[in-house]
């Protein structure tokens, strides 16, 4: 648990510097090479969506992880960024401005930023629960208004555009998905670096302080309202960039971009990935987008799986995936990780059994009336057969019972390893 909080390394020694830049360079290299390895149209589309989702989730974490603001309406900026980008693209084409496509996400960002600057001051007057409720209300307000202001938002059908009609740059037309992928990757890297840099500025650090203790911040000279407002504006800007990328990718912006579903998804991605580390939302965005793309074909209940994963993370691993991973760092350093591995291995079987039981139960309910067969890792089940129900029940009850025992063993092994790590000075 505690590892999640020691994220402050100051004045790094040379070795760490090297590793730090190494990670970024590896990330960039991976983005370049990825489409060469997986070059099918489907995977290119997926990578593009994942890239956008990462920018969006990172922007959300400026609020949630960095400043402690829980927003239920972040997609407002994403969507407005998308609309701003679409209008800009159409204007570039109709007016003949010499602005090539790669600059368009900037206008998406400006769209998100301008709205954040207008509405943010009122919204960030309050933090905590009230802010959460207000963000929800503003989200609804904008989503509903977008249907009224048809001339701007195009009503139900939205605003379409043609990305290839813009002036070419370096001979790229951005017709092929590969070129769009590289455009998205470029903005992903740019935005990620900018957002990471933001965490290392005075404003970034004071945002953390506001997150931890807004009252005390006032007694070291800062107005928490201003801090929240500035953080909100940055989050709005980068969400707008993500929205602009979406507009380029789909060549359309519609009111669904602004809606509660998008706001919920970005919250899920960010939280599941982990808010306490910069890379947490990246993991979350990859996982959630990937699951979303994969599960929609397999099951109609895919959203329920998100809900369940999310609830599980909130209850048992509030640090998210990143938190779970980083918990192990002091153990690795102290050399005690191997003492917990066996208990992990033991826990795998009952945990997987439990998960299968839950999946079987959900799919049985979902397909009961339709009668479609369930295919669980190659094993067919009939949702109307009592045998299926029995199997599901046995897996859930038995799995849960045994799994709890093994989880307890993990906790014990963990405590022992952590004690050793603490004695060796790798854990506070």
């Amino acid at each position: 648990m505690t590892a999640a909080t020691t994220s402050s390394v100051t004045a790094k020694p040379a070795g760490e510097n090297l590793r730090f830049y190494g990670i970024w360079l590896i990330g960039i290299a991976a983005l370049i090479v990825l489409p060469q390895v997986f070059s099918s149209g489907g995977s290119l589309t997926s990578f593009s969506l994942i890239g956008i989702a990462i920018v969006f989730a990172l922007s959300y974490n400026i609020l949630l992880g960095q400043t402690g603001l829980l927003s239920f309406g972040h997609a407002v900026h994403y969507g407005l960024g998308g609309f701003a980008a679409c209008h800009m693209m159409n204007a570039v084409v109709s007016r003949g401005w010499p602005i090539p496509l790669p600059f368009i996400p900037l206008f998406g960002g400006i769209g998100g930023l301008v709205f954040a600057m207008i509405i943010g001051w009122v919204m960030t007057k309050r933090a905590g629960t009230v802010f959460a409720m207000i963000s929800l209300g503003i989200g609804e307000l904008v989503a509903s208004s977008s249907l009224i202001l048809r001339s701007v938002f195009g009503g139900e059908s939205g605003i379409t555009t043609d990305r290839t009609a813009l002036p070419k740059m370096l001979g790229w037309s951005f017709g092929p998905q590969l070129q769009v992928y590289y455009l998205i990757s470029f903005w992903l890297v740019l935005s990620a670096i900018a957002m990471y840099a933001l965490t290392r500025t005075p404003l970034g650090r004071i945002s953390n302080a506001v997150r931890d203790n807004p009252e005390r911040v006032q007694f070291i000279g800062y107005d928490p309202h201003v801090v929240r407002y500035l953080a909100y504006c940055f989050a709005g800007f980068f969400a707008g960039v993500a929205g602009g990328l979406t507009a380029i990718n789909f060549e359309i912006a519609n009111s669904a971009l602004l809606g509660a579903i998008q706001s919920g998804l970005v919250l899920f991605s960010t939280f599941i990935g982990g808010t306490a580390f910069f890379f947490g939302p990246i993991l979350g965005a990859i996982l959630v987008t990937y699951l979303q793309l994969g599960l929609t074909n397999l099951t109609t209940a895919w959203q329920l799986y998100f809900g369940i994963i999310f609830i599980g993370i909130v209850m048992y691993a509030p640090g998210g995936i990143a938190g779970l991973l980083m918990m192990h760092r002091p153990l690795i350093r102290a050399g005690t990780l191997w003492t917990v591995i066996p208990s992990y291995l033991v826990a795998i079987v009952p945990t997987v059994a439990l998960a299968c039981g839950v999946i079987l139960t959900i799919e049985t309910v979902a397909r009961y009336s339709g009668g479609d067969p369930i295919n669980l890792f190659g094993i067919p089940f009939n949702p109307t057969s009592p045998m299926t129900w029995l199997t599901a029940a046995v897996l859930v009850v038995g799995g849960a019972f045994v799994a709890r025992l093994t989880w307890r063993r993990i906790a014990e092994a963990w405590d022992r390893a952590a004690t050793v790590a603490r004695d060796r000075g790798y854990l506070a």
Partner: protein
């Protein structure tokens, strides 16, 4: 015109009382436990769906009692096995838990009952016009809804003023930091309060189901309005929630009933101006704006009085 005013006032008060049935539970839970239950509207939805199902099996009147009890039991389970374990991670985690729950409940409901509206009928016993105003027949079922809400309202008042639990709740409303000193049974009090709050939401669902639309998105569409109500009234203030419920109930009902637009008031714009934001705003009817009116009120109150109407404390 007069007819419209009378009918809309009746409908508005009815909607307001329904909102209060929900917002009162939400407020009490928030004041005592510091948790804003995002799933409150989902409990309302569960009430409607359980009401529908039980009505099919055993009739409306038993369902009216049983469905809220079921929802209350679910609420208690959520408090006992969910919130209590999440409490140590803070209020944001608790809010997120209920958010995830709301999401999951919506998915489960649409998985079982589908996404289209259910045929949840007004019970035959109440399916007649109570009275006729001008030319409008006012349905008896709506009067029944109003009566139930008022009865619950009075019962709540009595419980708050006369019982021990009521005193504890009242103390919690005025001195939230004192709740910790309630003694060793504080967990049980929380569970009961959460259960009762959920059951009230369930009851609202059972009675609203036949009159409004029973559909798997009803929580998602009512929830935000509910949160507007409690922020507007001032988080943690029961009188504030009451006033805000009525205000928003009335305002929204009237807005829906009004067909006017700027164009109808001041005449159409010069047709030579093409479609623009101005024409959109000029031509939109008040009825079309109705869904966003509560949120406009929210922004307004935040500018004028960030604490809410009757709010006294920060979050």
């Amino acid at each position: 015109m007069l007819e419209l005013i009378v009918i809309s006032t009746l409908n508005g008060v009815l909607f307001g009382m329904l909102l209060f049935l929900l917002s009162s539970g939400l407020t009490v839970i928030f004041s005592m436990m510091g948790v804003l239950n995002f799933a409150h509207a989902s409990f309302y939805m569960l009430g409607a769906f359980f009401g529908f199902q039980l009505t099919k099996w055993i009739g409306f009147w038993p369902a009216l009692v049983l469905a809220p009890l079921l929802v209350g039991a679910i609420g208690m389970a959520v408090e006992r096995y969910g919130l209590r374990n999440t409490h140590k991670h803070g209020h944001v985690a608790e809010l997120l838990l209920t958010f995830g729950l709301a999401f999951a409940i919506e998915e489960i409901v649409s998985m079982i009952w589908g996404k289209s509206p259910l045929d949840y009928r007004v019970p035959a016993l109440l399916d007649f016009p109570a009275f006729t105003i001008f030319s409008t027949n006012y349905p008896a079922y709506k009067i029944f809804m109003l009566a139930i809400s008022v009865v619950i309202f009075v019962a709540l008042l009595l419980v708050l003023k006369r019982t021990r639990v009521g005193l504890i709740v009242q103390a919690a409303l005025t001195h939230p930091h004192m709740v910790g000193h309630l003694g060793h049974n504080v967990g049980r009090v929380f569970m009961v309060v959460f259960g009762v709050g959920s059951a009230l939401a369930g009851l609202a669902g059972v009675i609203a189901g036949p009159a409004l639309v029973t559909q798997s998105d009803m929580a998602a569409s009512l929830g935000p309005i509910l949160f507007v109500v409690i922020v507007f009234g001032g988080l943690g203030s029961l009188p504030g929630a009451f006033i805000a419920s009525l205000v928003i109930g009335l305002v929204q009902t009237f807005a829906v009933a009004l067909d006017g637009s700027l164009a109808s008031a001041f005449g159409p714009l010069d047709p030579s101006t093409g479609p623009s934001v101005l024409t959109d705003i000029w031509n939109v009817t008040i009825a079309q704006v109705a869904p966003i009116v509560p949120y406009m009120l929210l922004v307004l109150i935040l500018i004028v009085r960030p604490m809410g109407l009757m709010g006294t404390r920060e979050s």
